[in-house]
Symmetry: C2
Subunit: 178 residues, 2 copies
Amino acid sequence: MCDLIVKGDLILKRAEFIGESIDFLHKYTMKSLQKTAEEHGVTIPQIRVIGDVYAHKTVSIKQLSQNLKMTQSTVSDIVDRLIAKKLLVKTPNQKDKRLVDISLSPRLAEDIDESIAELTNQSLVAVLDLLDPSEQEAVEKGMKLLVSAVKEKMLAEGMDNHNFIDILYFSEKDKRGK
Amino acid sequence: MCDLIVKGDLILKRAEFIGESIDFLHKYTMKSLQKTAEEHGVTIPQIRVIGDVYAHKTVSIKQLSQNLKMTQSTVSDIVDRLIAKKLLVKTPNQKDKRLVDISLSPRLAEDIDESIAELTNQSLVAVLDLLDPSEQEAVEKGMKLLVSAVKEKMLAEGMDNHNFIDILYFSEKDKRGK
DNA sequence: ACACGATACATCGTGCACGATTTATTTTAT
DNA sequence: ATAAAATAAATCGTGCACGATGTATCGTGT
């Protein structure tokens, strides 16, 4: 009402902006990848799964869910659809019959295009290219700060972070003991 | 393999890190809000809708979809569920019979808790509080850079941004002319 | 007055995403 | 060796999210 603004208000505005930004960036990356993906007749999550199977040659549902940070049920669903599309095959593991070995279908293993496996952040590369190095560093620095603050809070409030928080720990140069 | 790293590789690493960060932050904000939300027996998108209805007293589906950056069908679904929960009511607009007036149900309008409408980025405020002002600024700066780069790219490739890109234009101090 | 395009909303189909539960198998503790 | 705990997948139910399509209603142009 008057132009005396409390300190809390600034933080609130910042939080709002950052919240919207996260949402915006998330939607953008999804939408952007989606176009590339659907040229191949698949979706983004499907490409991510394929990429991980490709990288590991053979994986279990559990491993996929850890690598891609999705629940097992989600992964299970996606894998099913990819099998229906004849892009993946599922064979029971001999060592441990609870496990299931997921691998590329012979057909896909041939013309894997190499690109399909790694186009995951194709669009973000192009975006970063629009910024000069110092700006890119500013972006990265901001992200790191925010992410580490979020992780701190998650730990503080004991947020169940089973296979969730452990993602970005490598990005820092220092990876000294937990 | 050797430690001579091409420039492109750095950008690629950055893109990967930023991509994962966006995903991480998105999941975190979702998860974090969800806890607060489900204490009230609703979901995050539902709270967002309620918040917007509360703020505008009466809105159409179209308006909601613009404010919340969701498609009309998504909003329509959510509103339906909220009506089923007796939290919203729907009355046909008299001026224009194509429109539908969405408003809070009398019951909800009473104990609207005031908090429920504005807890949207509650958790991010707490996160920012863990950073000192200069760090917060760094985060904000990084976000702004990234967001504006993304917007630039979207415009460049004529990405259909009907009610999608216009979001974060206000965050800057300059808001001159539409 | 009437046809035509635009608009607002609802509906349908698909896929993602998660939690909860179930089933089969392995591991462990006794 | 057997019961009990633990683990890996699958399955079910719910909700979000979107595009495509259908259905009224409104506005215009002629």
